[in-house]
């Protein structure tokens, strides 16, 4: 039996129109296509500026496509209402970002527990789960009660990773999840990714860390092929 398709991208294009610069239109993607099944991990590759992050943000619903279909767990993000996208992100579509965006005084433990609380989990249990994951990622317990805005890059990244793995999202997007980690924590993250695949999650990620990519990605998709043809000046 073939695993279910969790992500289906077909003929997606994306442009940025810069109104402050006389309406200059910058085409970034054209004819983008991607299929990811449950239990699969796909790595997006291509040089810097080729559109990897743009495609990942389109998959998260953060960018609006100019055309095409972006189905995530059956919902077309090109046409979905904001409410549908919010609901998808709550329980189905997880995202490990490179950037930490949180209310400044919220403790790390609550930042990680937040997705579970949003899903209605009881506070004690949500914090227990968050703590277990932070412990697994070797974030010292004395930091759990502090706001991660004061943390180092590697510590912040582990908080972001914990947030993305605290709920078993069926679809998970990873933006450089091992970028600023030491070897021990890098190994922990790779194991979390392997576990997620084993439970049937569909993963798409950007990994500049080539050995990590080789270890966990089932396939690589070079986004350079989706670059729009250069328009003659």
């Amino acid at each position: 039996m073939t695993a279910q398709v969790m992500i289906r991208v077909a003929d997606v294009s994306k442009n940025f129109a810069l109104h402050a610069q006389g309406g200059t239109v910058i085409p970034v993607l054209q004819g983008a296509a991607l299929t990811v099944r449950a239990g699969e991990c796909v790595a997006l590759t291509g040089s810097s500026g080729s559109g990897k992050s743009t495609l990942l943000r389109l998959l998260q619903g953060n960018y609006a496509p100019a055309g095409g279909v972006i189905e995530v767990a059956g919902l077309d993000l090109a046409t979905a209402t904001p409410r549908q996208v919010s609901a998808l992100r709550r329980g189905t579509l997880g995202y490990v970002s490179q950037f930490l965006r949180v209310v400044p005084r919220v403790p790390a433990l609550d930042v990680v527990a937040d997705p579970l609380l949003t899903l209605g989990m009881e506070e004690g249990e949500a914090r227990d789960r968050a703590g277990a994951l932070l412990a697994q990622l070797n974030l010292p317990e004395r930091l759990w009660g502090l706001s991660p805005t004061t943390f180092s890059g590697g510590e912040q990244q582990r908080v972001n990773i914990a947030r993305g793995f605290v709920h078993p999202y069926p679809v998970l997007l990873l933006d450089e999840p091992t970028a600023s980690l030491d070897p021990v924590n890098r190994a922990v993250v790779l194991q979390l990714i392997r576990d997620a695949k084993a439970r049937g999650a569909a993963l798409v990620g950007i990994f500049h860390d080539a050995p990590a990519r080789a270890e966990i990605a089932d396939r690589e998709v070079d986004v350079t092929v989706f670059s729009p043809q250069a328009v003659p000046a």
Binding site: N62, Y63, A64, L75, R83, A87, L88, R101, V103, R105
Partner: protein, 262 residues
């Protein structure tokens, strides 16, 4: 090839359904043809510069201003056509309004407990002991020492006054909260505390919120959806992070790109 279909269980009926909402000041447009639905548990931000019409819109929703045209349907009833007493009852129970300046939403010569209790009594509560206990409980929920229940708000800091105003509004368990720049004029550290508090209350009480602000950072952290207004009209709306990170309209691009880096 079988694409899995997630059952996105969403309420079908909006809590609030606004259409064609228009208000002019003589020849000048306040807000024009505003249309939106707000669903249970949703937080919608409205941003725009001064004079964009965002506060006019909020005041029309709250009944602080008369509207020229349009409908504001709440649970099947156009509140703009409600007789004044019914409208006031709604604002004291099911709806709450949080003013930018706490003193506009509080009675400054009444104790903190009285401020909270007064709204409960307006909603029909009569038992003094219960009212006082509920007021104490609410002071704690907004992180004010219940020991200060008999102090007047004039003895409180700006941040505490704002939290007291929120307690006063939420004590009746409203479904809809309208907020006008609730973090405006507060110190940055006080703002963060208030935002954290609001996020928690919204989640626990399942509140629907319309929040007007010029602070992009506030809507990014609090609002699910965002509406951008200019010259009285909505120029762009959608998922908050999408509007902010991939703005389509020239004015939204200008607004987002004008935020100072932190």
């Amino acid at each position: 090839m079988n694409v899995v279909n997630t059952a996105l269980v969403l309420e079908d009926t909006p809590l609030l359904s606004v259409s064609g909402l228009t208000r002019s000041y003589g020849a000048r447009i306040g807000c024009k043809d505003v249309v939106f639905d707000l669903y249970p548990g949703e937080v919608m931000g409205i941003v725009g510069e001064s004079g964009s019409g965002k506060s006019t819109l909020l005041s029309c929703l709250a009944g602080h201003l008369e509207t020229d045209a349009g409908q504001v349907v709440y649970q099947g009833q156009d509140v703009l056509t409600l007789p004044e007493p019914a409208r006031r009852r709604l604002m004291r129970t099911d709806w709450a309004f949080v003013h930018q300046h706490a003193r506009d939403g509080l009675r400054m010569n009444v104790s903190a407990g009285g401020n909270v209790g007064e709204r409960l009594m307006a909603g029909g509560a009569r038992h003094y002991g219960n009212i006082r206990k509920t007021a104490e409980d609410w002071l704690e929920r907004v992180e004010i020492d219940p020991g200060r229940i008999d102090d007047r708000p004039s003895a409180f800091s700006g941040g505490m006054q704002q939290r007291l105003q929120i307690a006063r509004g939420l004590v009746t368990g409203p479904k809809l909260v309208l907020m006008d720049e609730p973090t405006g004029g507060l110190d940055v550290s006080v703002q963060a505390r208030l935002l954290d508090l609001l996020r928690g209350l919204v989640r626990r009480m399942g509140l629907s919120v319309v929040i007007v602000t010029h602070d992009i950072g506030v809507v990014r952290l609090l609002a699910d959806r965002l509406m951008v207004m200019r010259h009285g009209q909505v120029v762009e709306q959608g998922l908050t992070d999408r509007v902010l990170d991939d703005p389509q309209h020239a004015y939204t691009q200008l607004l987002v790109n004008s935020v100072l880096p932190t």
